[in-house]
């Protein structure tokens, strides 16, 4: 089957920043992404979990699959939002089946 090279960008960020990040991505022309709630984890700020009382908003993960040539504009837009905040941004090489969709 024909496969196409793509980049998979994962951004883990605090929930209150979610709409700011998706707005920035939309403005940068990145309209395809998936938002995944994150159950918990541990990092530089210590362990955390989203279990329990509403309001302790926790984190979300935003996953984008894009063409390699669009990576820089996505990262510029994302970095402007996440620069000062807790979170993780990672990029991995990926293969997709239907290139016209990305």
């Amino acid at each position: 089957m024909q496969m196409h090279t793509a980049k998979r960008v994962e951004i883990v960020i605090e929930k209150p920043l979610e709409s700011r990040l998706t707005d920035a991505l939309n403005e940068a022309g990145v309209t395809g992404y998936t938002i995944v709630p994150v159950r918990g984890g541990s990092g530089r700020s210590g362990p955390w979990t989203r279990e329990g009382q509403v309001g302790r908003a926790g984190m979300v993960m935003i996953v984008c699959l894009i063409r390699p040539e669009r990576l820089d504009s996505l990262l510029d837009a994302a970095f402007a939002v996440v620069e000062r905040h807790i979170g993780v941004v990672s990029v991995t090489d990926a293969q997709v089946l239907r290139a016209e969709r990305f």
Binding site: E14, T49, V54
Partner: protein, 325 residues
């Protein structure tokens, strides 16, 4: 003194406080007991709707007077002013950075609606009436403190900016919309409306509050366990001193504007409580460099349990002593 001790004793032995203690103990003992997130959210919606509706229905029954506007103004003044006192106290008692101190100060100017709900429940249990519109005062006190904290930080050029859209997010925060919305519904439909849904929002209220506080105990216990060493002695001292300072100012203002004794107690509780929902989310956007472990542990792990167990009975006793029953 005997009165305060007996009130504190009966408060400590109530199902509400014991449920909170159970959650706290379970989390500290590393039990796997947990309330699913969706259930906690559902209970929170229920409690906010019920307390807002009952407040509105009470206003419909007793009418609106000029004290309502005075109480709203007092609440807003408290929310704007308390962060400055909290900030000065933090700088005296702790070695906290200006940024962390400002973020903590914002929490202490804003309010904890669960502490407010627990206080109304305790007042009802003791047969002390209060003004229904205190719910609206609670809603009005959520946001101003955030502006004071941002000003404290911006004054020294350390960031702290009001991002576009943040004020809208704070003012249209789900809790505020639900509280104010159900208050208006209660006011419009009055006692007839309340009678129609009383089996849902009155009878099961305390039971739901118990379960909700069980969850709060779990969250507070987990927070305390995970933040070991985050708070020094000075910060813990702040966490129990600041509520009492706020309560005393609330007592003075409440008496000045002519609230009933129950109303004064609720204003004291609002001034004494610290936010752990609206303000932390706003601080993550506006002051992301401030350490969330410090303000969440102080607000949820120190001040919330203090107010729930000792604070509220103390405020009731103080108000009884100063302005009578």
């Amino acid at each position: 003194m005997t009165e305060i001790l007996s009130l504190a004793g009966s408060n400590l032995a109530s199902p509400i406080i014991l449920s909170f203690a159970l959650g706290l103990a379970a989390a500290l003992a590393r039990s796997d007991l947990s309330i699913p997130e969706a259930v906690a959210k559902g209970m929170s919606i229920y409690l906010l709707f019920a307390i807002g509706f009952k407040g509105g229905a009470s206003v419909a029954a007793h009418g609106i007077d000029s004290t309502l506007l005075k109480a709203l103004a007092a609440g807003i003044v408290l929310s704007f002013g308390l962060p400055f006192i909290a900030f000065a106290l933090l700088k005296t008692l702790t070695g906290m950075s200006r940024l962390d101190a400002a973020a903590v100060a914002a929490h202490y100017g804003s309010i904890s609606i669960v502490t407010f709900v627990a206080a109304t429940s305790i007042l009802e249990g003791r047969g002390i009436p209060s003004e229904g519109y205190m719910v609206a005062v609670a809603a009005a006190m959520e946001a101003p403190a955030i502006l004071s904290a941002l000003w404290l930080v911006a004054r020294n050029g350390k960031g702290g900016r009001m991002e576009p859209g943040l004020m809208r997010e704070i003012l249209l925060n789900g809790s505020i919309v639900l509280l104010v919305g159900s208050f208006v519904i209660g006011m419009v439909t009055g006692e007839r409306g309340l009678a129609e849904i009383a089996p849902f929002i009155v009878t099961p209220f305390k039971g739901v509050l118990c379960l909700f506080l069980l969850d709060m105990g779990l969250v507070a216990g987990r927070g305390l366990r995970q933040s070991k060493g985050v708070l020094g002695g000075g910060a813990v001292l702040f966490g129990v001193t600041m509520p009492m300072i706020g309560a005393v100012i609330g007592l003075g203002l409440g008496a000045l504007i002519g609230l009933s004794m129950g109303g004064v107690v609720l204003l004291m509780v609002l001034a004494a409580s610290a936010s752990y929902i609206a303000v932390p989310a706003a601080m993550r956007v506006a002051l992301p460099e401030a350490n969330p472990s410090i303000y969440l542990t102080l607000s949820l792990g120190v001040t919330f349990p203090f107010n729930l167990t000792l604070g509220i009975p103390l405020y009731v006793a103080l108000a009884t002593m100063m302005i009578g029953g």
